[in-house]
């Protein structure tokens, strides 16, 4: 049994991954999946509606699943369909996460009214939206860094409500009744109404109802035009980026008399969804899809892959596998080192493959190098560290690499998950960053430097925790562990140095100076200097095993500060990605590392592992 244990575990993991990758199935009779793959332009990028639904839900409530009042659960795409076409129904879904007690009080809500005591429907606080807006305006005047948690929560909720309302007004007039019926009437009567309008302008006899109707609906369309979150109407020319809102498309249709196929399709889909007519809906979505396939095959292929990627959630799968691998590897130190250690190694490898596939997919979708923003840097730091761990584990087979991989892999993906709550993680690159060459060289190298410095620090954590708190660290393992830390510090020095230098060269190329003492530059420099300090302290005989481990753990603090702390200062050329909640977590992390250093400060004779050998 023990013999086959690791093979069975890895097999189970592979099967699990395969299941997560299979094509999503429709929850009911409606071909919601086909709908979720339709393209739209949002925030400068063409993406499937599925991505819009998922990122909107993450921004509003921190998770992708929606539960209705009667306990049924909706896929993100179903929720989006209700938002777009049945706004009144959607308004009862509890998709706003509100936890700040003062904000709850402001909106006259009590936690008990919310799903899971924290999720509310807009219906529940609609009558207090005016007060929310007023408070948010008051908070807008405070500088980002000076805002109280209440003010930040108010602004976040206000922005969520705006996103929600803009989304609802993308295809229909959410406040009017029977807008879809009006659109149907427009489609039927447009030629006649236009003729009447021209006759009216020419002063000839005409039916006044037609022009009056056009005037009426034009007003509504103008408001949709200005509110719309989506730009779902593809450009008429293939290589154009000029995607239109539904409002614009219909307004132009009224002017020209010609209705774009996409506008017609979205109106037909809306009527079918609204009337719960699955057959018509499925026909409409499939014929629209066929026309899009002819018009823009490359875009549609990307949308298919992205929607599939969104439903597979590879990074979530990898995260779970890392946790399992970590647990198995830790237990392997207590019992069955071969079976459990082998299984952990296998799981890390499977998780690594899944994460790699996820990162490669993102790169292909964006046509960018792996690291483009804070989110992808978290993915890549984890990826780089796990890759190094796999190398270490391949050589040493002592489960230390697997423990470190499980820990860092899980932690970085968790960080990434929280960074994803800010919105779509595949953003368009701001002008100065729009350079694949430098993103591919400087950013990748420096991120590998971060990864290696963290790995050295986590290996040192294992050394200290295992050595001081358990009796499982024997002399040969301790020596090996220290050799690993030392090797990884060398690697980290090389990469963080090369990355910093490449950054200097980029700065010289684009800003005319190699070094400007900008906070992010300083952060990178501090990592390099700290790694140099570790190496020189070791070469100079100032530290031995324990000292090296302590210095490497402090390297975690240094790296975390450069990675996130610098952005929190809110100054400098690199200050993109300020996050307030992150500050709290950074403090917790620093405190935990200092605690480990304090443990390490205990005299070696008190360390449980070394007490045994000393005796």
């Amino acid at each position: 049994m023990k013999k086959y244990f690791s093979a069975l575990v890895v097999l189970a993991a592979v099967v699990g991954v395969a299941v997560s990758l299979r094509s999503p199935r429709n929850p009911g009779e409606f071909d919601v999946v086909a709908f979720s793959r339709l393209p739209t332009l949002v925030n400068g990028r063409v993406k499937p509606l599925d991505t819009v639904a998922r990122t909107s839900l993450l921004m509003l409530q921190g998770r992708q699943r929606v539960t209705t009042a009667d306990g049924a659960s909706l896929t993100p795409a179903e929720w989006l369909l209700d938002m777009l076409y049945r706004p009144a129904t959607a308004n009862d879904y509890q998709v706003f996460e509100i936890v700040h007690p003062d904000v709850l009080a402001l909106l006259n809500l009590s936690a008990e009214d919310g799903a899971g005591k924290k999720r509310f429907s807009i219906h529940q606080f609609a009558k207090n939206l005016g007060e929310l807006d007023r408070q948010a305006k008051l908070a807008d005047d405070a500088e980002n860094a000076a805002r109280t948690p209440f003010q930040s929560a108010v602004i976040q909720l206000r922005d969520g409500v705006i996103l929600y309302q803009r989304l609802q007004n993308s295809l229909v007039d959410a406040s009017g009744d029977d807008f879809l019926g009006q659109l149907a009437k427009l489609e039927q009567t447009l030629p006649a109404a236009l003729q009447a309008l021209w006759a009216q302008r020419a002063g000839q006899p005409h039916d006044p109802a037609g022009p009056a109707f056009l005037l009426e609906i034009s007003k509504t369309l103008t408001s949709i035009e200005s509110f719309s979150y989506l730009r779902p109407i593809p450009p008429a020319k293939v290589d154009s980026v000029d995607w239109q809102t539904a409002g614009t498309a219909w307004s132009e249709a009224i002017a020209s008399g010609k209705i774009p196929a996409a506008a017609h399709a979205y109106a037909a889909l809306g009527r079918a969804w609204h009337d719960r007519d699955a057959i018509t809906f499925n026909e409409a979505v499939r014929s629209f899809r066929r026309s899009l396939d002819e018009q823009m095959p490359a875009t549609m292929r990307k949308c298919d892959v992205e929607a599939r990627f969104g439903s597979a959630e590879p990074f979530y799968t990898a995260m779970m596998l890392y946790v399992l691998a970590f647990l198995l590897a830790v237990f392997s130190w207590l019992k069955w080192p071969d079976a459990l250690g082998g299984a952990a190694f296998g799981l890390v490898a499977v998780a690594f493959v899944v994460a790699t596939a996820g990162i490669l997919t993102r790169m292909w979708l964006e046509a960018r190098p792996p690291v483009t923003n804070l989110y992808s840097s978290a993915l890549f730091v984890g990826w780089g560290a796990v890759a190094l761990c796999l190398v270490l584990e391949y050589f040493y087979r002592n489960a230390i690499g697997s423990v470190a991989a499980g820990l860092i892999g899980f932690a970085t993906l968790l960080i990434a998950h929280h960074l994803a709550l800010g919105g779509d993680t595949m953003e368009m690159m701001r002008a100065v960053l729009d350079s694949n060459f430098w993103l591919g060289t400087h950013v990748v190298t420096i991120t590998v430097g971060y990864a290696a410095t963290f790995l050295a620090g986590f290996l040192a954590l294992i050394y200290i925790v295992r050595g001081a708190l358990t009796s499982s660290l024997d002399k040969p393992t301790a020596d090996t562990l220290v050799r690993m830390i030392y090797g990884i510090v060398c690697f980290a020095t090389l990469f963080s140095f090369a990355g910093t230098v490449l950054g200097g060269i980029w700065a010289d190329q684009s800003w005319g100076r190699f070094w400007g003492w900008d906070p992010k530059e300083n952060g990178a420099l501090i990592i390099v200097v700290w790694n140099a300090i570790i190496l020189h302290a070791r070469w100079g005989g100032l530290v031995r095993q324990r000292g090296l481990a302590v210095l490497a753990v402090f390297g975690n603090i240094v790296t975390a500060w450069s990675w996130f702390g610098v952005n929190m200062l809110g100054v400098g050329l690199h200050s993109y990605g300020f996050t307030q909640a992150a500050f709290w977590w950074l403090t917790v992390f620093v405190a935990s590392q200092l605690a480990v250093i304090a443990i390490a400060a205990a005299p070696l004779a008190k360390w449980r592992s070394f007490r045994a050998t000393a005796a």
Partner: protein
């Protein structure tokens, strides 16, 4: 005596000193980064890196708290050079270390030089406008211009820090002395109203007589600049030509006649003249469709020299600066509804040094760690061959 020299040498070549200095350097960079929130990047550089000692101010008393960049960097340089001279030996094993540290020496020297030589200016151009000078970010100058000859102006420029000393200035080209009565490094100007009649008159000539200047606290924000005001008495040998209020907030120069010549006086942003002229043809600001996210900023400029040898159009955009005549122009900003471009102008004669230094260091590190890794792999291989019989009997190899 010999003992003392030996211990001095041992001190300067020791790795302990290296580690201590590196820790000092790191703390310095860390503190400087945090202080940017208060002081902004320019003041921080002057206080922390381009200084020997960092002072802390409590009230009006200042006392030294930490060695500045020159001390830490200088000592590190001495330590590096001394250690390598002392321990130098030509061998492959040491080649990587030597190369990396030689690169580091070059990098430190290069940073010192660029600190001393690098100059930053900015150039603001509206569409269609031409300029043959760039302006300083922070420095101002008092200019007295002899405009008698219609064909050329004879400019005498006095740096702001000379005004700050509030002394009497005698320049050989000027037939009068300039006496700084008052100098506010940052100020607010207000038109004199009847309610202010109690405020004593500051200027006695020019349009400063209608203006009241009040000192303001210095600003360190990157997007604000200090607006100095000075009261200058123009003292001719035979008479006083009055006290004039000059300020960077007054756009028009003030004029007067003396000794048969026509003069202008004003306090303006310090200029650096270039031997060529740039004209803004067009500034473009592209955004991603349906968003405000900037996709690209670019300035199309016409570059001309007075001798007529250069007359061409150039394009400056993100990550693509113009390098000409030892200056680098890069796209730094825009204003005025996308019709005015702001270019940053950098002069840095030592710009090549970091490239060379970093090349050497990277090569050195690669060599050094490559040798380490090679040794490690060879050792493992030897061990693996030695333990093969054990592996055959089922024991786990490679657990160490």
């Amino acid at each position: 005596m010999k003992n003392f020299l030996t211990s001095l040498r041992d001190f300067f070549v020791s790795l302990k000193l290296t580690v201590v200095l590196l820790v000092f350097g790191m703390l310095l960079v860390f503190a400087a980064t945090l202080d940017q929130v208060n002081l902004g990047v320019w003041a921080v550089q002057a206080k922390y890196f381009r200084s020997f000692i960092i002072y802390s101010h409590v009230g009006s008393v200042s006392f030294p708290v930490f060695p500045g960049g020159y001390v830490v960097g200088g000592l590190l340089l001495i330590n590096l050079v001394a250690a390598h001279l002392y321990r130098f030996s030509l061998s492959w094993r040491k080649a990587g270390i030597f190369l990396a540290h030689f690169g580091l020496i070059l990098l430190l020297v290069g940073e010192l030089l660029s600190g001393l030589w690098q100059k930053d200016f900015h150039l603001r151009l509206a569409e269609g406008e031409s300029k043959n000078y760039a302006e300083s970010f922070r420095d101002n100058e008092l200019v007295v211009i002899d405009t008698t000859d219609a064909k050329f102006d004879d400019v005498v420029a006095i740096p702001e820090n000379v005004l700050a000393r509030k002394t009497s200035i005698q320049h050989p080209k000027l037939p009068f002395r300039l006496v700084t009565k008052t100098y506010y490094p940052n100020s607010l100007l207000q038109r004199r109203t009847p309610a202010m009649s109690a405020v004593p008159e500051q200027a006695t000539a020019g349009f400063g007589t209608d203006i009241v200047a009040a000192p303001q606290p210095l600003t360190y924000k990157e997007d604000e600049r200090n607006l100095p005001t000075a009261l200058i008495e123009i003292a001719a040998p035979d008479q006083s030509l009055g006290t004039w209020l000059v300020s960077t907030q007054l756009v028009m120069p003030q004029e007067f006649d003396y000794a048969g010549r026509h003069w202008q006086i004003s306090l303006r942003v310090k200029r650096a003249y270039q031997p060529f002229t740039l004209t803004l043809v067009k500034f473009s600001h592209d955004v991603y469709a349906g968003t405000d996210i900037p996709k690209n900023f670019s300035s199309r400029l016409r570059l001309t020299t007075p001798d007529g040898r250069e007359d061409r159009e150039v394009l400056i955009y993100m990550n693509n600066p113009l390098r000409y005549a030892g200056l680098t122009f890069y796209q730094a900003g825009f204003e005025n509804n996308d019709r005015t471009t702001i270019l940053q102008v950098v002069r840095n004669p030592s710009w090549l040094m970091p490239y060379v230094a970093c090349g050497l260091m990277t090569a050195g590190l690669l060599l050094q760690f490559g040798i380490h890794l090679g040794g490690f792999v060879a050792k493992r291989r030897a061990k693996a061959t030695a333990s093969q019989p054990a592996a055959a009997t089922g024991a786990r190899p490679a657990t160490t």
